[in-house]
Symmetry: C2
Subunit: 586 residues, 2 copies
């Protein structure tokens, strides 16, 4: 067996890839027909979701398990690793097991966090295409999104320099777009802080229209949100046409449909709408589809990927981003609301390391060695930090399903520390498993797999946190209070005005609420660890994604375009020119 204490993740992946299944065998073993598999090379492919769902519409769904976490350190607590490990562990107990994770963004892959394909002996492979654009879905999202920006900026220019008669000859009427109110921004899938805030359209009259603009990271795009939640091609087409790009000088929305760019945008997304099929290091199918970033986006892999997997599997494990306050909350109140699917259980990944941080341990900084508080036993810090875990257990229980706490085991964890976590979590009504899937693969995840099987067998009563009819501010307050533990919510005047407008607009009554909030704290302030109390959630702005059907309240300072650090991962990524293998991905 490979030793993850001695080898980098990409080296382990490279070894595992030598004996991985061909995608045609992987798909056939899972019950996918030849015509439903679109291979991309020999070891991954896309699945024609519409064909599978139509063919198997009468088949009952398998068990549906979400993997979430406590509030993580900036290093992440191994949620994707646990997702892969759990799939591998379940497969040792039961037949028909699959997983689903989001496609990684080029931002973290080339910056600090890596592509999060899992780690050690619990990874999604093949790693290189997984990390480097996969089958192009994020590029397709980027292109579709930016085409809308091309349409609106070109239209601004042509309306500014041409007469009504000129426009009419081309079948166009004047949209009178307000250049100070183009609500959409451009996207690029890197952490490009220098593009966050820009002026575009400098130059002469054929060089565009001079205006303030900027770029967000592609995975925060409304188009990515739509890819995560659409349920059929017709639904996709309609959602894309409802995207509000800007407002006119009377304040009326200007949509992609008004710009006549919605059909072309959908065309870009046709292939991207099919989920990607990869595999765990132990050969189980893994769907990879749609976007990451539960802090600034919906942060869920796609509904269609889960729908397909639930038809083909007895147990399907899906991942939602970051902690249960944001990733699971959106899985619960957005993804399951739209899909109508009912999960059976949620796994909450906890590490002794993160609990110590919540108990008051020193700051954890990526790239810097961990403080001794984290590498040597310190039960007192764990004891103090356990409140964070309890908050996430309560959140999962509010949804009516059964929580399983997975202690993602590190070799530095002491038995006493683990016992503290186990005792507290069990007292809070959760099953608990210690898991060594990073070190041992599926063999190391048997305790976790058994706890999940038990939790799925137990009856559960999944229910949404709020009804569709609840007004937006009441919803925000409900999430803030019941999930984040806030005492109240404050609004900037701008956010308050937007909330009022939304509450009186009947077209927005069915919209889901997709919070934007840091993942590094239960609160809006990344420096507040543990389970903060005596605070109010400040809502700075409220965006409306009419295509996705989301109201997007933005809490605190968080930005839709992260920054590249002074020591980014791209420095260590390279290609071996003799073998063609890519090195340094993680």
């Amino acid at each position: 067996m490979l030793d993850p204490t001695k080898l980098a993740d990409w080296q382990i992946a490279e070894e595992a890839e030598r004996s991985m299944k061909s995608v045609s065998r992987l798909a056939a073993d899972w019950g996918i027909l030849d015509a439903e598999l679109l291979p991309y090379g020999h070891h991954l492919g896309k699945i024609d979701y519409a064909s599978v769902l139509d063919r198997l519409k009468e088949r009952p769904n398998g068990k549906y398990i979400d993997v979430t976490a406590i509030t993580p350190t900036p290093l992440g607590e191994g949620k994707s690793t646990t997702t892969m490990g759990l799939v591998q562990g379940l497969a040792k107990r039961k037949g028909g097991v699959s997983g689903a994770i989001r496609q990684p963004s080029g931002g973290p892959t080339f910056n600090i966090k890596g592509s999060a394909a899992g780690g050690g002996l619990s990874q999604c492979i093949p790693l290189t295409p997984f990390s480097l654009g996969l089958t192009g879905d994020i590029d397709a999202v980027t292109n579709a999104h930016n085409l809308a920006m091309v349409a609106v900026t070109a239209r601004l220019q042509h309306e500014a320099i041409n007469t009504d008669e000129f426009l009419a000859k081309r079948g166009l009427h004047r949209l009178n777009i307000d250049p100070t109110n183009v609500s959409m921004r451009w996207v690029i899938d890197f952490c490009a802080q220098s593009l966050r805030d820009t002026i575009i359209g400098l130059g002469g009259k054929t060089d565009g229209f001079m205006m303030r603009s900027g770029f967000a990271i592609s995975v925060s795009s409304e188009v990515m949100a739509i890819l995560a939640v659409f349920t059929s091609l017709r639904d996709l087409r309609e959602r894309i046409g409802r995207i509000v790009v800007a407002y006119d000088r009377q304040g009326k929305p200007v949509t992609t449909r008004d710009l006549e760019v919605d059909g072309a945008m959908t065309a870009w997304l046709m292939r991207a709408s099919n989920p990607n099929l990869l595999q765990t290091m132990e050969g189980q199918p893994v769907m990879v589809h749609a976007g990451p970033f539960a802090n600034i986006a919906v942060g869920q892999s796609s509904i269609v990927a889960d729908q397909v997997a639930l038809k083909l599997s007895n147990y399907h494990v899906t991942e939602s981003g970051f902690g249960a306050d944001i990733g699971f909350e959106k899985f619960w109140n957005i993804k399951c609301r739209v899909s109508g699917l009912k999960p059976n259980c949620a796994v909450i990944v906890a590490t002794v390391r993160a609990l110590k941080m919540h108990g008051g341990g020193p700051r954890v900084v990526p790239g810097k060695p961990l403080d001794v508080a984290y590498t040597e036993p310190n039960p007192a810090l764990v004891e103090k930090g356990i409140v964070n875990l309890l908050a996430h257990i309560e959140t999962v229980k509010k949804s009516g399903i059964n929580p399983v706490v997975c202690i993602n085991h590190f070799h530095t964890d002491s038995p006493e520390e683990i016992a503290i976590v186990r005792r507290a979590a069990e007292a809070a009504g959760a099953r608990v498993a210690v898991s060594q899937h990073w070190l041992k693969g599926g063999e190391g995840a048997l305790e976790l797999a058994d706890a999940v099987i038990d939790a799925c067998d137990e009856p559960s009563d999944f229910k949404l946190l709020y009804e569709d009819s609840l007004p937006v501010r009441a919803r925000i307050e409900k999430v803030a209070h019941e999930v984040y533990g806030a005492d109240g919510v404050s609004y900037t005047p701008e956010a308050k005005a937007k909330a009022e407008a939304i509450e009186t607009d009947p077209s927005m009554q069915q919209f889901a609420t997709c919070m934007v909030k840091t993942h590094l704290s239960l609160s809006h302030d990344p420096s507040l660890k543990g389970r903060p109390s005596g605070w109010a959630l400040p809502i700075r702005d409220i965006l409306v994604y009419s295509g996705a059907g989301f109201i997007v309240p933005v809490a605190g300072d968080i930005k839709l375009m992260p920054g590249t650090s002074s020591d980014p991962a791209f420095r260590r990524i390279d290609v071996d020119v003799d073998t063609g293998r890519v090195k340094g991905l993680f």
Copy 2:
């Protein structure tokens, strides 16, 4: 047989796609091994060029035919259509025939010109993936290129706000990049005039570094140029590392290697470095690889695609962009210089329509109905315009290979008009064929195929226009005089200073010269038709692409970012939600 006078190109493509070969059969029929084919879906794939070239290194090359054209109207004169038609026609006479064209850019596809997959009964299929990103190569170029911009702008910020000690802890030394001399720009593969000239990095100290910047279209990227001319993975890796991104405050170049981003950029390009395999409507293999735009870029499909095809085929037809003054000139003096390949013949595509324009016919404007001068016989205009064709015939003859003029037949052409062209071209020493491949497919291209077979059988003596040792200004003057017909060359002070610097820099002596000039005239001025005389070529700027190994003189006003028109094609592109088919591509 399908009737192209009654059906749109995408409708014909859709019909042809019902009976197209699977990519595995297409590849096997062409002599590609299973392991060398990376399928992308069922009807196209990538070819492991390194494996094929190694396996067949002892096999002699087939005949090598370039397709070029006279100076086109803005509508294009059917060069890709002729390339497809010629491949189809040759296949009716000989075994082992293939073609190669560039991947279309999203700019023209969604703007005016379309994706140029050919037309009528001479098209490259499947059309939808061809037009919508294919296997993601342009996206990979865009990502690799923009990652360098992320690296340089993040570095500018981190050097501005941090101490030497902070940088040293991360293994960095201060590069002292001059923010007014970042020579690279961002790229996006649309016609986005509003991004041409921008200010970036507004905001606070973590929001980047405030500076002038801008975007070019992706296909004009130096990374795309490298994809077109690299000859092995090692060569690709080295070229990527030599790209100059900026200059420091002492004027010394700052490369991708200095920024430690060259390995990660190469990683993005690994899959893109393999050519794509598609097919004509009559089932011959077509390689599609690397970038278009011979006016602002090298405008050639890749060297590796041609190398592979020449090993597998008896006749291989490759296309170079726009007219012979720019596309063929670069095929001749850049692509063949780097590859060492010797072409046997060049086909010059001419239309009666374009010759009339060169003879003084009214302006041809995309989207507007053609003037009656073009739709009814007017031999006098053709007679006057023939000088343009003669210039291009002379250019091809200077390279030492045999020209074949293909009159791309329109139903409005009169016998008298065609006779004028035939007579003049034959008098200039070219073979001439009238071709109806648009209307009739390969059957309509038999006269052309026979002329090409004859031209390939005739001995030829291919030679470059200038030696590597010729200084840059002498080269520019040689191309301007002998290919464009200019009386002289003028330089802006900036261009002159750069030329002097280049001429004294020994590291640039082996660089090829890649002219940037409008394709709409033999001169730099798009309004000068026919064969302009009594003019000088104004060189506005000279770029250096150290990675590609190109000196890039920029003539006249041409921009590296085209603009989206007031009536772009995206208005008419859509998806049929019942069938999933994309409509409106051309």
